[in-house]
């Protein structure tokens, strides 16, 4: 193919706006679907000219993929809407028409937030908008900031062009008056074309901040040889109220809690390679993600996506229905693969799948979902769940209280493969991690069966839970070290590398007695040292935001227990690239473990202790939103800390607000509301919470004496419950107090 032809563009444009045919009204979300392929599929963003005087730029993505985007209008009429795409080297697509007609009455003008301003040259705040700032060279970092009187959720930022407009810029926000600034990844633009007389409106999706700034890292010299960042005006409009509100916690920490959800929960302000918040999202734009739609993540996905009724929820339902379950009851790790990374079968997926389906149904009460059928086999989802449970109880012996993995590849020996998410360690045979999740699944399944009316089977599974608990403690407790071991291999060898995550999950899931839970927390808190451990005392929280995954270095034991990458070719030894503190699974951290840490603390040590831990995490996040990926000095890539990119489970940490602070957990009878507020808080509120097809605002308040509902015409019902009582909200929307 000639060089010229290689440079030809393949242009695909589907400007399919509003194909559903329903009339669109002022204020409604208006959809637009855009797709343009730049040469070499460069990263690109779109600009929508809404035909109403605004340019709305989007986040970047690979230009091969389509973007479905929504925006809204403030006035009715026929709008000559059009869009174009800009690659990050500045290649521009032509404008593509996408006209739209909007009905209804004009909305009253909303006032921008009152602001004062500062610049990189004059950090002192002034009332007049400065308009421009000039640097000494093309690479001087220049910025113009707007400061607000308090922390507010930011809906949209409008930048008005003047004689000039920046071509390369990004938006940053602050929650502490400008001491720390963090980027809004979706608002980073290269080679931004001149907007002419249009206002550039950048969606900020509710990021909570008391300041926002336009930052330019590089610019060309102007006609006079000066390097200037110039903006004609900068106005910010308040967005919808954020989901989490607390009375009694510092406002910047509440803001950070909300922003952590925005980054690692909904991930609405992140860059996603395929304009899609589910896998994959790669460097160099590593950030938060919504979900990995693999079975091993299915319970975490359900927790993250159901309560807020994510727009991607149908996709979760689709994959939950489609995951293959073989004749033995083994659940595949994805819709197309039996093995994790084509490497090893993960039997732990079965309990996680059961818990996910149960959680999804109990939270949504969606009959269509629970009656859905596998798209390939036509088998009802409930039958697949039953078969997976039969594998656990009958095939793997779980009805005795202990699951034993019989697969010859997963025998817990150094030459075995891993059975779990923690894929560097050969969890298997009698595996504490899997048995903990088996316990959880049996409880969830009993609730599901009960909700569906099968009280007999539900009772059978409820009766099994204490058997599993007793067997778990009998099998995995190590009295000498005062903690649970990881697994027992096929030869009866008990393997313990101080698995912090196993112990925290066991406590969080209620498997421990109070005495054992306390002992475990003493060890993890560094108050009790375990002889021989590599990490003891305060060093266990070396990374502050989460405890180390294990406290005994993998390389200190029998060789081969820790193998990673490329079919286990890299073995942790003292001098290897995956030695202690160099891998997230060997002395490093994975952030989501803090979710179980918080729950374990709440259960074992009380809400005050859990809130103290969360406060540490939030204080750390103020400065950088936990966008951390420290390098492994031996190979140059980040392997010691698991937070970004393929760790969407990081979103469970801010999600703790939902099922920890608010204590919202589904059961057969309805939604149990058992708040876990620390004593120093007055109240906590969760907005836009979805349960059984209804949307609620829920407040847990220490001053409330009894549950009540406040109704208003323009907002969801507001359920106020006493913070020190348990309330049950039924699927029908009634509530009662539980003892």
């Amino acid at each position: 193919m000639s060089r010229k032809i290689r440079f030809l563009l393949i242009v695909i444009a589907f400007g399919l706006a509003n194909s559903h045919g329903a009339p669109l009204s002022v204020g409604d979300p208006v959809g637009i679907r855009m797709q343009f392929v730049h040469p070499d599929n460069e990263m690109a963003y779109f600009i929508i000219d809404d035909g109403d005087g605004r340019w709305i730029p989007t986040a970047q993505g690979i230009s091969l993929y389509p973007l479905a985007f929504t925006h809204s209008y403030f006035s009715p009429g026929k709008k000559a809407r059009q869009w174009r795409s800009v690659s990050i080297t500045g290649h521009l697509s032509p404008w593509r028409p996408a006209p739209v007609e909007i009905a209804g009455e004009s909305l009253p003008d909303s006032a921008p937030l009152p602001a004062s301003y500062s610049t990189s040259a004059s950090p002192e705040k002034i009332d007049a908008f400065p308009g421009s700032v000039t640097g000494g060279s093309e690479y001087d970092k220049l910025w113009i900031a707007a400061h607000f009187q308090k922390l507010v959720p930011l809906g949209r930022l409008q930048l008005r062009p003047d004689a000039g407009f920046p071509t390369d810029f990004e938006i940053e926000t602050t929650v502490d008056g400008g001491k720390n600034w963090v980027p809004v990844p979706s608002a980073r633009f290269f080679h931004f074309p001149s907007p002419g007389d249009r206002v550039v409106e950048i969606p900020l999706n509710g990021v909570v901040a008391d300041g926002v700034r336009v930052v330019s890292f590089r610019r060309e010299a102007d006609a006079g040889g000066k390097y200037t960042l110039q903006v004609g005006g900068m106005e910010v409009f308040e967005g919808a109220k954020p989901p989490f509100e607390v009375s009694g916690l510092a406002p910047e920490l509440v803001a950070t809690w909300n922003n952590l959800w925005l980054t690692f929960g909904s991930s609405r302000n992140e860059i996603h390679e395929r304009f899609d918040p589910t896998w994959p999202t790669g460097r160099p734009y590593s950030g938060g993600m919504l979900a990995i739609l693999a079975t091993e993540w299915s319970l975490w996905n359900a927790k993250k996506m159901v309560w807020c009724h994510s727009e991607f929820l149908p996709r979760l339902a689709e994959v939950l229905t489609a995951y293959p379950v073989d004749e033995e009851g083994y659940v595949w790790v994805t819709t197309t693969s039996e093995k994790h990374l084509e490497h090893s079968r993960h039997y732990v997926v079965a309990p996680l799948y059961i818990s996910a389906v149960s959680y999804y149904y109990l939270m949504t009460r969606d009959k269509a979902f629970i009656e859905s059928k596998d798209p390939k086999t036509g088998e009802p989802i409930l039958e697949k769940v039953r078969r997976a449970m039969r594998m656990l109880t009958d095939g793997l012996g779980g009805s005795s209280g202990l699951v034993t993995v019989k697969d010859p590849e997963m025998q817990g020996t150094p030459d075995s493969k891993s059975n779990t998410y923690w894929d560097a360690w050969p969890f298997g045979y009698q595996d504490a991690y899997m048995n903990a999740h088996f316990y959880e699944a049996v409880g969830s399944y009993a609730e599901l069966l009960s909700a569906l009316g099968d009280k007999t089977e539900a009772a059978r599974f409820r009766a099994l839970q204490p058997v599993i608990k007793a067997k778990f403690n009998e099998t995995f407790w190590d009295e000498t070290n005062g903690r649970y071991i990881g697994w027992i291999d096929k030869n009866g060898k008990r393997v313990d590398f101080g698995f912090v995550f196993v112990n925290l999950e066991a406590v969080a899931l209620g498997l421990s007695t109070p005495e054992r839970a306390e002992k475990i927390m003493e060890w993890i808190d560094g108050k009790r040292e375990v002889s021989g451990d590599t990490s003891v005392g305060a060093d266990i929280y070396h990374y502050k935001i989460a405890p180390r995954s294990n406290t005994l270095a993998a390389e200190s034991g029998e060789p081969g227990y820790f193998k990673l990458f490329w079919n286990g070719n890299i073995v942790a030894t003292k001098d290897s690239s995956q030695a202690w503190n160099l891998n997230a699974q060997n002395g490093g951290i994975i952030l989501f473990v803090s979710y179980y840490d918080l729950h374990a603390r709440e259960r074992a040590l009380g809400p005050d202790n859990a809130a103290g831990r969360m406060k540490v995490i939030l204080e750390e996040a103020v400065g950088d939103q936990l966008r951390r990926m420290p390098k492994n000095p031996t190979i140059g890539i980040g392997t010691a800390v698991g937070i970004l990119r393929e760790f969407p489970e990081s979103g469970l940490v801010p999600f703790y607000f939902v099922d920890g602070v608010m204590g919202l957990r589904p059961s057969a009878e309805g939604l149990v509301i058992a708040p876990g507020l620390p004593a120093e808080w007055k109240s906590a509120t969760l907005r836009d919470f979805h349960f059984a097809g209804k949307t609620w605002t829920v407040t847990a308040d220490f001053s409330a004496k009894a549950p009540c509902v406040e109704l208003s015409p323009d907002a969801p019902p507001h359920l106020i419950v006493p913070a020190n009582q348990t309330t049950l909200l039924t699927p029908e929307g009634t509530f009662l107090t539980r003892p």
């Binding site: 393949i10 040469p39 599929n41």
Partner: protein, 236 residues
């Protein structure tokens, strides 16, 4: 003629109906892919109507920002580089510099610096380097671009150091390398794992660092400084 036209119309109508009924059986994701393919076939157009940026300008750049934690941006030191950090001084231009603390105890020692970049078209890479604090050692830099699909492009090694002050390194991708993905000019590297490179739409620019043959010093240890990493537009 009329008969032929009627027959042709009939054939076309039948074909359309058949296509339509087959299309209805295809699941939506596959349908979307087919639409993309059809769109590509139907709407393949030369770039003439679009605006192309001029060649030779900076199209992407590395941001070395002292206000940011190095862990937060896409820069990494690799093996043989004990640490890296941002420094406000010394600086070549307005922005901060990236400091790489290298340790090359002998002529076989090897260091590496990595910089992931998004998938972006460019022809030249330029950066400034300063090695004044390496006791006159000369370094051989072997820059490479690691692409998706396990491909790597290796530039001709460059020698830096010894003369003092800031030096500009300009690396040019040959004209006949049109794309950095799926290009036969790139060597396949079988030992690069799928897990780290496959199907990722970005590149890694990196350079290996070792003592040059002509280096008067047999070892060196200390900081070197980088600044103004720029990716320049390839010719259309």
């Amino acid at each position: 003629m009329i008969g032929l036209a009627v027959s042709l119309r009939s054939v076309i109508r039948k074909a359309r109906l058949r296509v339509h009924s087959v299309f209805a059986l295809i699941d939506p994701p596959m349908k979307s892919r087919l639409l993309v393919l059809l769109g590509a076939l139907i709407f393949s157009l030369p770039l003439r109507s679009d605006e192309l940026p001029p060649a030779g300008r900076v199209v992407y750049y590395g941001i070395f920002d002292t206000e940011r934690n190095p862990d937060l941006i896409a820069s990494h030191a690799g093996q043989g580089l004990p640490s890296f950090r941002f420094v406000a001084e010394p600086k070549r231009a307005g922005s901060a510099s990236l400091q790489l603390d290298i340790d090359l105890p002998d002529r076989k020692a090897f260091g590496r610096w990595l910089f992931p970049i998004p998938h972006v078209r460019f022809r030249d890479i330029s950066f400034w380097i300063q090695t004044d604090r390496l006791n006159g050692a000369k370094l051989e830099l072997t820059p490479t671009l690691l692409g998706s699909d396990q491909q790597v492009f290796i530039f001709k090694p460059v020698i830096v150091g010894g003369d003092g002050g800031w030096q500009r390194v300009l690396l040019r991708i040959p004209e006949d390398v049109a794309s950095l993905r799926n290009d036969p000019k790139f060597a396949a590297i079988g030992d690069v794992p799928d897990a780290s490179l496959d199907a990722r739409a970005y590149l890694i620019f990196n350079f290996g660092i070792r003592l040059a043959k002509e280096s008067p010093a047999d070892s060196c240890s200390g900081p070197l400084y980088l600044n103004q990493l720029e990716f320049l537009q390839r010719k259309p």
